[in-house]
């Protein structure tokens, strides 16, 4: 994909710059002339939307940090001051809090799009793995950010999540004390979380650059899963992808603004408006919605498995549910990328979507009665999808016939009839004006 640069500096100044620091050339080649498959649909606009959300989170976050106090005696109060006294503080905070949620909305759509169209398969393994790294960094950032308002959910969420580490024998307690800076969540914990919450988004931005770099080396996948073969399969990034991404962003921002302005606390928990109290646990602790499926898996393990006690088992299952994603490129044995041409995989894909949502719902229920059992069933299915169904399915499934090329899939078989393998189509066989 990273072919020859077609950038031509238009005047003496740009030629002067190009000979010294070819940044305009990099931008032109990456975001103007960069060839994208002509059949990308709106599911492919979420990469751009995610970049936008990262930008919104960094800008609103830097602004909030100007007014926030990372001290356990002042934190809760300073957040209330942001809401009531700081000019536009309410807007900044609601944009930031809901921005985190919408960041995760976008990333989940982005991930499931990758799963549906097999975007993780060779040669895009590193691209996928970098994405999983970004996802983990996002989770760490969101978790630490949720602690900062120092409400009841902040405090007890921090207690529970840092408690994960005590599950590991011998090294567990020292690691937890290292993370907390004490024997329980306290001022030292809040202060370092504030520092790291400010740092991590910039690390995310760094990995995003690697992610995009890897994307531009291999080129994008597309709904057919067939690699780009000729220039008829692609259109230039600008204006095609630029405009499409732009419209996707506008629609996404409409939903985002609906929450920010009309229901800003819908996704939050009312208990977080109660100041943190180290001596009283809320009756029903729930994490933010985007962690609920993983939370359900943590709670699903209520029994010891051989030498592994239930607590370590739950923690291993929860971390394992994300670690398994790193191995996905090698777990899926099918050579066909797109679910469009995999009739059985397509069914299992949607079952996985339903299973994940089901686990999320269970994560929001109290850990009583039938719920832990249902969570265990959901957890077993989740792991079976990656470790059993995907490896086996690739061997037994008969995929549908793939189109010869993206252009054929889009323009119909008549296009292909005039094309010898690998050769350029005769002029006039395609109607899109950009191919003149």
């Amino acid at each position: 994909m990273s072919g020859h640069s077609s950038y031509v500096p238009t005047n003496r100044f740009m030629r002067w710059v190009d000979a010294r620091l070819p940044l305009p050339r990099l931008v032109y080649d990456s975001f103007v002339a960069f060839p994208v498959p002509r059949n990308l649909n709106y599911a492919y606009t979420f990469g751009g939307i995610l970049s936008l959300m990262l930008g919104i989170q960094i800008v609103t976050g830097v602004v909030l940090a100007m007014h926030y106090s990372g001290n356990s005696a002042l934190a809760f109060h300073s957040v209330e001051q942001i809401m009531r006294d700081v000019n536009w503080g309410w807007l900044m905070r609601y944009m930031h809090a809901n921005g985190a949620s919408f960041f995760f909305v976008a990333v989940y759509i982005h991930i499931f799009r990758g799963l549906y169209y097999g975007s993780y398969k060779a040669p895009r393994e590193i691209l996928w793995i970098l994405g999983v790294v970004i996802f983990l960094l996002m989770m760490a950032t969101a978790f630490m950010g949720y602690v900062l308002p120092w409400g009841q959910m902040s405090f007890w969420g921090a207690t529970v999540i840092t408690g994960f580490f005590t599950a590991f024998p011998i090294i567990g307690d020292p690691i937890q004390q290292l993370l907390l800076g004490g024997f329980a969540v306290d001022n030292a914990t809040l202060n370092r979380f504030f520092s790291l919450h400010y740092l991590l988004p910039f690390m995310i931005a760094g990995v995003v650059i690697l992610h995009i770099w890897a994307l531009h080396v291999t080129g994008q996948t597309n709904p057919t899963g067939v690699e780009v073969k000729t220039k008829d399969d692609v259109v230039p990034f600008t204006p095609h992808a630029t405009i499409k991404d732009g419209l996707g962003m506008v629609v996404f921002l409409l939903f985002y603004c609906w929450f920010v302005f009309y229901m800003p606390n819908f996704l939050g928990h009312p208990d977080n408006y109660i100041p943190a109290n180290p001596l009283k646990t809320p009756a029903h602790i729930v994490p933010e919605w985007y962690f609920l499926p993983f939370y359900a898996m943590l709670r699903a393990i209520t029994f010891n498995i051989g030498p592994i006690d239930s607590k370590l088992g739950g923690v291993l299952v929860m971390f394992g549910s994300i670690i398994v994603l790193f191995f996905l490129p090698w777990l899926d044995t099918s050579r066909v990328r797109s679910a469009v041409y995999r009739p059985i995989y397509r069914i299992f894909f949607w079952v996985l979507v339903v299973d994940t949502i089901f686990l999320g719902w269970l994560g929001s229920r109290p850990a009583e009665g039938i719920y832990p059992t249902l969570a265990l069933i959901g957890t077993i299915y989740y792991f079976a999808h990656w470790l059993v169904i995907l490896p086996v399915l690739g061997l037994v499934e008969t995929p549908r016939k793939l189109p010869a090329s993206i252009a054929e899939a889009v323009l119909g078989p008549n296009y292909a009839s005039g094309t010898a393998a690998g050769a350029a189509p005769p002029s006039g066989s395609v109607s899109a004006p950009e191919n003149r």
Binding site: V160, L178, G181, T281, T302, S310, K311
Partner: protein, 186 residues
């Protein structure tokens, strides 16, 4: 150049490896302060002995003291609660060890080993669920002991884990009754 000096290590090789080793040790030593600064500081470590007046705690009542930033439940149990705890067969317990800092680490989790010595109605324990650190709710759950609202761990009237994801009985801190009405923890 390797023609003149075949596989034989030279003085230069030795210097390179020795310098590299010193640099690696130096880098590790330089990193350590940046990690260790995160550990509990001197103010946090300092201390931790508290005295609690328990003269106002009637049978069936509890108070919570704060020790090392964590709650300690001090409960004068009712006779029924003691009886229930004593009635539980040791084989039914998920964690068979007393987890009592005042006893050897392999002491069995009998009610005698959980309760205050010589005062079998009194139970003093760190009120932190051994699962992920929430504060369990008293006198609730299937065993009328403690119930952790976070992930559903159930403890009996001696603070022993009976069901749910928690792996251990709630910890008994080092303590002693310095008089009939005064308790020292830590």
């Amino acid at each position: 150049m390797s023609v003149d000096h075949p596989i034989e290590p030279t003085r230069r090789d030795f210097l390179l490896i020795a310098t590299g080793a010193v640099a690696a040790v130096g880098a590790a030593a330089a990193i350590w302060p940046f990690i260790d600064q995160m550990n509990p500081d001197a103010a946090t470590l300092a201390l931790a002995s508290i005295e609690v007046d328990v003269s106002q705690v009637a049978p069936g009542q509890s108070i919570t003291a704060k020790w090392r930033g964590r709650p300690v439940f001090i409960r004068q149990r009712t006779d029924e609660e003691v009886k229930a705890a004593k009635g539980a067969p040791l084989g039914d317990l998920k964690d068979p060890v007393a987890r009592n800092a005042n006893l050897p680490s392999d002491a069995p989790a009998t009610d005698e080993n959980r309760a205050a010595p010589g005062k079998e109605n009194w139970l003093v324990m760190v009120g932190v669920c051994t699962h992920l650190g929430c504060i369990p709710l008293g006198q609730s759950g299937d065993y009328d002991g403690w119930f952790c609202p976070c992930h559903g761990s159930t403890y009996d009237t001696a603070g022993r884990i009976r069901s749910g994801p928690a792996p251990e009985n709630m910890a008994i801190p080092p303590f002693e009754f310095t008089s009939d009405t005064t308790l020292r923890i830590g």
